[in-house]
Amino acid sequence: MTKYIIRRLGFLALTLLLTSLIVFAVTQLLPGDVARIVLGREAGEEALAAFRETYGLNDPLPVQYVNWLGNFLSGNWGTSISTRTDIFPTVMQRLRNSAMLAVVTLMISVPLAVILGVIAGLNEDKLADNVISIASLAVVGLPEFVTGLVLIELFARRLDWLPANSSIRVDATFAEALPMLILPALTATLVLLAYIARLTRAGVVEELKRPYVRTAILKGLPRRTVIVKHVLRNALLPTITVIAISFGWLISGLIVIENVFNYPGIGRLLVFSIDRRDLPTLQAVTMITVLGFAIANLIADLLYAALNPRIRLD
């Protein structure tokens, strides 16, 4: 197990190294002169040259890359071109916000999706299954900005239960932020729900056919024990993996939802930095996004291995 984890961490480092190369290369390819973008149209040639000298823009590309990577790894992510503030604390703040939203989303979507999936799976091709399957399919087909706006219209404007705007304060605690998190979390839930529920349903349907279920029933165990202890233990393995992976998406992939609700997460920072051609911020956000996905995948694999005794890790 330890050997496996070390190997996987090695892969993780390699992935990040490759990503950093790509991120660096892409930002070099972008049109426009960084010095010109930063200093503005009216800057004189002298000022531009001085800027390039200060930020090492005249160095050969490999040197620039190594300097950039070294700075990134030591937490020295530079200053935002557009806001003139340190990038590192900003990204960390946004990361915290995104993580809060992700946790609330999972707290709503996972129990709901798993329960619906199990009910559908246990009633394969019966009414409950058909209703759940069709309803979840219908919902998953809607884009997030539609469901988000419908939820705002319903819960914020008509019922006035929850705020429509989720622009939380920078230093808001989890408890303070919670009311503002619910609507964006619900919107993300509607995206995840059908996926997780259908996967759970498929797992339950498949496992119910296995002979060990017959053994468990013919042992005289109560139905609840057969389902919870025997069937779900095996049926939920793929579901758990997908939930872990979806955490990566929740951290950095909620670009539309964060913008609809004006929520200061990583996704909004990404759009913001693209808008402003804020290359240092864009690089940092991209690296964090990749890191989030990679770690979520690693956790998914480790969880799967830990829960499934048939997987041998060495």
């Binding site: 002979p211 053994t215 005289g220 005794p309």
Partner: protein
């Protein structure tokens, strides 16, 4: 409560499966009585309905339905029992050991827990004593290093060990009836022999009644007091094992025995006889005797009229479903010899390798 003979009395059972072509009868008018402590072999080819009968007795038939008859167990008809009550019979009164132990064990639960949960459920043991008892049961089925095996997962054990675990689990509550559905079929020959020895010993020590479902007459001879021979869903012969082997009264049983090599024969002398033709498909049952199309002794009446299950010898309980059994029993008019010779001439050309007790499954052209 009606008084019914034996521990288990299957009465006139007919089981049908629903298919695209309507209801097809897989088992027809099946009757069987198992006394307490008796070991019964239920023998038939693939598709003869033997597993259907086993699962009907357990009341665990997936697509099929019993359309007629009853399964009396300790005076209660299991087929009309409320489903909830079956949970008190499953694992406590009747245990089931299936064919493939690996898929029958939960892949992600430890062996010890899979046994212990039965003990907690039916014997109401607490967690600790159930775990200890599970280890003792593993020792009983002669598994080396029981504590280690109890902490293992099914895929870490060999096929023989897995089946021993299933047997330990089945006997853990000391049930009065054990149903074994081809428990050794997927094991290699030496493992099969060891598991059979173990089974025989455990059964003898506890006076457990057994219904042993198999296609292997050699196994039946080793384990069972009585044999019921099934053909195309019908009971064709039911007799004490030794009597059946000494003098089979149904031509099908004769064919079965002829297609198994005798112990002690030299391989050069063996001519195994296969029965020509094949088992009729469901829904294509002949009007007369089900075996008539393949029977070397069939005469006009056999094709026209379905024979009933006749009592051949009342004192030891021999039953046979054949119009011509009295002639076969008496050996009259060369019925028996002629018939068997004729069949050999037609089909028994191949010389087959000898395998002790007919263990090899492919030793004849069709599987018994």
């Amino acid at each position: 409560m009606e008084s019914k003979p034996g521990l288990l009395h299957v009465e006139d059972l007919t089981v049908a499966y629903h298919t695209g072509a309507g209801w097809l009868e897989a088992v027809r008018d099946f009757t069987l009585t198992i006394a307490p402590g008796q070991t019964y072999g239920l023998v038939g080819e693939s598709g003869s309905g033997k597993s259907t009968i086993a699962l009907t007795i357990m009341r665990y038939l997936r697509n099929g339905r019993s359309r007629q008859g009853a399964v009396w167990f300790n005076g209660r008809n299991l087929l009309t029992l409320p489903p909830h009550d079956m949970a008190h019979i499953w694992g406590k009164e009747i245990s089931f050991v299936p064919q493939d132990p690996l898929s029958a064990l939960n892949p992600s639960l430890r062996i010890g827990e899979q046994i212990a949960e039965v003990l907690r459920q039916h014997l109401h043991l607490d967690k600790k004593s159930a775990a200890a008892r599970a280890i003792a049961l593993l020792d009983m089925v002669r598994i080396p290093d029981p504590p280690r095996v109890a902490a293992s997962y099914p895929h870490q054990l060999s096929g023989g060990m897995q089946q021993r675990v299933m047997i330990a689990m089945a006997l853990s509550t000391e049930p009065p009836l054990l149903i074994l559905d081809e428990p050794t079929t997927n094991l290699d020959v030496t493992t099969q022999a060891a598991v059979l020895d173990l089974l025989r010993e455990l059964i003898a020590a506890r006076q457990t009644a057994v219904l042993y479902v198999t296609h292997n007459l050699g196994v039946v001879a080793q384990v069972c007091d009585r044999v019921a021979v099934l053909y195309a869903g019908e009971l064709v012969e039911d007799a004490p094992t030794h009597a059946l082997y000494r003098q089979p009264l149904h031509p099908y049983t004769q064919g079965l025995l002829d297609s198994v090599p005798q112990l002690g024969q030299h391989k050069a002398q063996i001519q195994l006889a296969a029965i020509p033709g094949q088992i009729p498909a469901l829904g294509q049952r002949p009007t007369g005797c089900v075996f008539a199309p393949r029977c070397p002794l069939a005469v006009e009446i056999c094709h026209a009229e379905r024979p009933f299950l006749d009592t051949a010898a009342a004192e030891n309980g021999r039953f046979v479903r054949c119009h011509r059994w009295p002639e076969i029993a008496a050996g009259e008019g060369g019925v028996k010899k002629e018939g068997r010779r004729e069949r050999k001439r037609e089909e028994g050309r191949g010389k087959r390798r000898r395998e002790e007790g007919g263990e090899r499954r492919d030793c004849c052209r069709w599987r018994i």
